[in-house]
Subunit: 198 residues, 2 copies
């Protein structure tokens, strides 16, 4: 059954959100109309503002409505260390650890030739320029430990070959609180190879 | 960690949607920004339209942007049978069965004195007027088979006492495809009491 045209249109539009199917979209629309019209209007306004005004930081490519983001323009962060991540949310999770005080570079994806995502889409030329300007001492590659993430990491390390800069990769090994019994062989192999003296 | 102010604002605003926590809201916002700006703008527009222009049908109280909804204004439906439901979505599920051709009345909730929802909030006076205008022959009470739904059903049946109209309640019994082993005692008791001759 169809509701009124505007309501059907809202339900359809809500399905663009990740993880929202027809049933959830219907529930969301009806709940907003029943007891959340002010919230709905506020959400509409926030969406409009965000979609129109949020761009990318000129330096690290993270989402930002200012030309240079807060982290890149901070004077309290170490300009000599650059951490390269795939997604903006990765910056968020690394910041939560409070154990990194350098700057970031966000690729906004990983190499995926079949999807038409090559070095240019990931801002590699911008990254290259940044590597060559002599300010960097270390690059930490923190792409995801997936096949695509590893390939992207490999590409970046190759790109850094001619440049006088230390290139590191975040450690791959066993996660804290996990049990060896349930860890996959590849991870365990990495943990053994990367063992540290205590 | 906080993102840019507009992005934080969008993440916060998305949390008004039912079932959306901080992590999901963050994922939604980032995905819309990364590869769904047009969808995001369309959603904002649909939300604005819906929140401002969708009201309630004057006759059945369902959501509608026209004064009288499609079902209420249809000439092909039986005006003598009125099905009373709690929520707009209930109209949708009953319509999907294709086994009801009468009209609806949507309470938009159930009696819940503690939440300040009394007969007036549920449009009982409008329902009373409708019962008394002589057009109705049968009222089917299809409120949910919960404690509140049953209480609301009881209230409506009491209200219909003085009126010349047949009042029925949807059958409570075992669901098709279920197994007796797993059915609760109350439902089974209802199924026994409401047994039908075959």
């Amino acid at each position: 059954m169809r509701f009124s045209p505007l309501l059907d249109q809202l339900i359809e539009a809500l399905r663009c959100l990740p993880g929202v199917g027809p049933k959830t979209a219907q529930r969301m629309a009806l709940q907003l109309l029943t007891r959340g019209r002010d919230n709905g209007k506020r959400l509409a306004q926030s969406l409009t503002d965000a979609m129109h005004h949020i761009g990318h930081c000129q330096q690290c490519r993270i989402f930002s409505e200012t030309p240079v983001c807060e982290i890149c323009s901070s004077l309290h962060r170490d300009c000599a260390v650059l951490c390269i991540v795939e997604n903006p949310v990765d910056v968020s999770v690394i910041e939560q650890t409070s154990s990194f005080r350098g700057k970031y570079f966000v690729l906004l994806g990983h190499l995926s030739p079949l999807d038409g995502i090559g070095p240019e889409e990931l801002g590699m030329s911008k990254l290259k320029t940044r590597m060559e300007n002599g300010e960097l001492q270390e690059i930490i590659i923190a792409t995801n430990p997936t096949v695509e993430g590893e390939a992207t990491a490999h590409y970046i390390s190759e790109m850094a070959r001619g440049v006088e800069v230390k290139v590191t990769r975040i450690a791959r090994g066993v996660a804290l609180g996990s049990e060896l019994e349930y860890i996959d062989a590849n991870t365990l192999a990495h943990a053994l190879v990367g063992r540290e003296e205590i």
